[in-house]
């Protein structure tokens, strides 16, 4: 298939070739898709096309955006992190149980973020030192974090800390609508991550390692350090996602965030990042997350469609995007 695609690119007119061959092409497709979905939603359901609906997408999926940003770095470096959903749950659990013991909220948040980064860093170190597949190591990490949740408590713990409730209920007015503090934190994280990916040495190292690890090592890049940092960043983002989720749900529970890793991977892929690494944009996480959120909102607005349609549609989208990437990009390694 890739041969056909590259032949076609060779002979087809320059205009379409440069468009479909451009690195941002699949990202552009996602943005068009998002606009189309919002447009169709607005045409079919009254009240859909308001600024607040878009803001609500961010409020409801802020935690997912943060996690998808972390996942974006991991995938750009050529790896995968399956532990993020469990780390999210573990963070909500640690937050809830420590707040229950009246530990100051800021200290709790700092501790959780630190632990998340350590968790990811250790997995990264194992992946690099023992040359193991990221998939199996983070899978074990997923089990471990989920199990640790239940070691803390099998039951759900509610959070009644005033600082957390304030974060959950505050509405920050922006452009006639409002955002929650969690959504704003998520957007800030996204901006920092874009800066990190495209304007720092670390970001360039991530792209280089994802493109070809051996070449990166021969260029003199510290591959091990980059990998450990990438997984630490993903762990940090997952923990921050957990804190945002705790703001949003006001509870800690071992069952929180099941399947979040799949949503995050789907968001990154739909956002135009190649799962083989080294190719894509961190900003794609935003469009990917918004597309996933828009699907859910459309289904909720429709009212006659059941929740499982979300999964089917996400699966179908994943399929379309993977195949499109494979055919258009032709860069994917088997």
């Amino acid at each position: 298939m890739s041969a056909v695609a590259s032949n076609a690119r060779g002979t087809a007119s320059r205009g379409t070739a440069s468009l479909t061959g451009a690195p941002w092409f699949t990202s552009l497709v996602t943005v068009v898709l998002l606009v189309a979905m919002l447009g169709i939603g607005g045409a079919v359901y009254p009240g859909f096309l308001s600024l607040q609906v878009v803001f609500n997408l961010l409020i409801d999926n802020g935690f997912l955006l943060v996690i998808a940003v972390g996942m974006g770095f991991v995938i750009l470096s050529g790896g995968i992190d399956l532990s993020v959903g469990s780390v999210l749950a573990l963070s909500t659990m640690i937050c809830a149980s420590l707040l229950h013991r009246h530990v100051p909220p800021l200290a709790v948040i700092a501790l959780v973020l630190f632990l998340g980064a350590c968790f990811g860093g250790v997995m990264g170190a194992i992946i690099h030192l023992f040359k193991l597949q990221p998939f199996i190591v983070t899978l074990a990490g997923m089990f471990l974090a989920r199990g640790l949740c239940y070691l803390i408590s099998v039951e759900s713990i509610t959070i009644d800390d005033p600082a957390f409730t304030a974060m959950s209920q505050t509405q920050v007015p922006i452009l006639g609508g409002f955002l929650s503090p969690g959504a704003i934190i998520a957007l800030v994280v996204l901006l920092v991550a874009i800066w990190l990916a495209h304007f720092t040495a670390f970001g360039r190292a991530v792209y280089a390692v994802g493109g070809n690890e051996q070449s990166a090592a021969m260029m003199g890049l510290n591959v091990g350090r980059t990998k450990v940092l990438v997984y630490a960043l993903s762990g940090f983002c997952a923990a921050l996602g957990g804190v945002l989720f705790a703001f949003y749900m006001l509870s800690g529970y071992g069952q929180h965030g099941q399947g979040t890793e799949l949503d995050a991977i789907a968001a990154v892929v739909i956002g135009g990042t190649l799962l083989t690494g080294g190719y894509g944009y961190i900003a794609g996480a935003l469009s990917g997350v918004l597309v996933l959120g828009a699907i859910q909102t459309l289904i909720a607005f429709d009212g006659t469609l059941s929740s499982w349609w979300t999964r089917i549609v996400i699966g179908a989208l994943l399929f379309v995007f993977c195949v499109v990437q494979r055919v258009m990009g032709g860069r994917a390694k088997s």
Partner: protein
Amino acid sequence: MNARATNAGDGTVKPTPPDAPSQARTAPARAAWLAHPLVRPIGALVALLLFDAFLVPGFFHLETKDGHLYGAIIDILNRAAPLMLAALGMTLVIATRGIDISVGAVVALSGTVSAMLIGGTMVVNNGTQEYVANTPMALALAASLGVALLCGLWNGVLVAGVKLQPIVATLILMVAGRGLAQLLTDGQIVTVYYKPYFFLGSGYLAGLPFSLFVVAAVFAVTLLLVKKTALGLFIQAVGINPVAARLAGLRTATLITFVYVFCSACAGMAGMLITSNIKSADANNAGALLELDAILAVTLGGTSLAGGKFSLVGSMIGALIIQTLTYTIYSLGVPPEVNMVVKSIVVFAVCISQSSEFRNILRRSA
């Protein structure tokens, strides 16, 4: 060299194996025997069983009630049946450098299809209760297996035809599969009321659970296919070097599609066993995380995730280790959730000890 030392420890626990030449107990012979890939998984299983024997009173006790064999061992075997099936299929997929994370979704789908087609109602006919299936059972089972085969074909075509990475290709079905199953059942849990169907998952044949015969049959067929035909060699060749295998004239695409179809078929059968055992199909929870347990079983059995050499027997032992571990944790009165922590530590330990880097470090320090 620590690994070797623990191996020797495991070896001394076991009685002398009958196949080891008793008089030729020279050092190389012993080393060769210890280096056998199955020594570690068997050692782990034996150690775990001995641990249970000390801690759980009457662990090895078997008794017959109504001609059925009862006991902890039988219980472990019976409950491990779906996992053993899934692990069999997963072994071949992993041997070709692939991975199939849609196993749980296929379990849910095929279980749902069979449960819905059979469904069953209780009819009181002349004062006797009779169970009537919606569709003949053979047809329902065939349809359910057919759905599983289609799932496998989908995965296989995506991996071998479209050339997606296996984890991505099967991720699609993993996400969508449960959604499809829920779509079929309208989000409800389907209950089955049809006696003959229950035989599959909880019936007894010759004193043993029927599910064991299913597993044994599938295992025997797979082993024959792999050992007595060139299939095993081909699969190994694809796993060791796909490009070389293709250049050597193997139809790698067909082979890869076959292993995914086979894996899904195994998952489909596991789905039927599970639905029949719990007498209902829960599209949301049936076979949840089964793919992870199957991958774990394969890894524990000594098959490398990097593809190539594989051991079907090892995977079966791996599945038994997981189920024995679960049983142990339950019987110790530890909260079952701790199981996940133990499993994760086992995965870390096994993976690290299998890596060549770890052996290098050991060699350097020794």
